[in-house]
Symmetry: C2
């Protein structure tokens, strides 16, 4: 059974569903998910892939769809959440730093919870400091490190790696080079990791 | 248990999956699906919702995703199918006429089969005449009727009705006014028709 790479950007709406349920899915399936933050906005803008801006009907549907699926997963967001978020790069530079240091998943879950369930924009305070505290990190010191050039370069490297895999949206699950886009393709990715097929 | 309206456009790629499997789903679930052809391209162009044109990475992913899901449903398409199709309005004017006269589902299935499995573009000959013959209709006479102003007006009326429901893509399932977009939301629509929730 292969690991599954979970490529995501804090800032993506549907990624809320995956971030909040992936721990449970990992426990239930025994699959190891490797959390890989990247900058989906950079790829989408470059590819002229703008799903919701200036598309009010589709955007309204997205929030309704996220609400229904949240209910399915036992989540209770207050929707619509503030969107888009201005500081997507910083939100994900923090996440990437955290993945390398072992506290990234706790941060990602809490920052999404505060954003989608309490209306506090991810990537900015008070969300940033509060979610870092929940992840047992010093907010001031961590934000300084995550704002440095090295952190920006690290995220850009991840984004280039995502691009090279054919990733164009968030969340995306990758199993043995096979790309599955969307929270709603998680079952397909799990099936692929078990049998090399979608069943 | 509510009926489900199945809004679709011949010309949509993911609608292949729904058109080919909906009969079996209806049998298995006991749900009645009401097939409603409309012109999704008109709505998408008006809403600046262009999913694949000039988006080669996303388009390549779509074909891969359709291939994997076809395998899941026991379908054997030859992909990519010719896309986009030039004569989307005529393809759907024929379908709408057929839905009103009782042969529309047979035509829709055969025209998708010829398009996705034999590479013959829907909405044009030889696909059009061959699929009409399979639906036991006279091709010449039917194409004349489906090309008339009245048939174009009938499709435009359906498209306006779809727009009024908040439909922006194909396929879309509608249950009691609740909109579910995508072949991958069929299970959610079925769940809604049974319980008013997504489970």
């Amino acid at each position: 059974m292969a690991n599954i790479d979970f490529w995501f950007s804090i800032g993506s709406t549907y990624s809320y569903l995956s971030v909040m349920r992936l721990g449970r899915v990992a426990t239930e399936t025994g699959i190891e998910f490797v959390w890989r933050p990247f900058n989906v906005r950079e790829i989408m803008v470059a590819q002229n892939n703008i799903p919701f801006a200036n598309k009010p009907v589709k955007a309204a549907y997205m929030w309704r769809d996220v609400a229904r699926r949240s209910d399915k997963y036992g989540l209770r967001p207050r929707l619509p959440a503030p969107y888009p978020i201005p500081d997507l790069p910083l939100a994900n530079q923090v996440a990437l730093l955290g993945m390398r240091e072992g506290w990234g998943i706790a941060y990602a879950i809490e920052t999404y919870r505060l954003w989608f369930e309490e209306g506090l924009v991810a990537g900015a305070d008070p969300n940033l400091s509060r979610s870092l505290r929940v992840a047992r990190q010093n907010p001031e010191e961590t934000i300084v490190r995550a704002s440095a050039d090295a952190a920006a370069t690290a995220l850009a490297d991840q984004t280039r790696a995502a691009l090279a895999l054919g990733i164009f949206g968030s969340p995306t699950f990758v199993v043995d080079g096979e790309v599955f886009w969307g929270d709603d393709r998680l079952d397909d990715a799990i099936s692929w990791s078990r049998s090399g097929r979608v069943r």
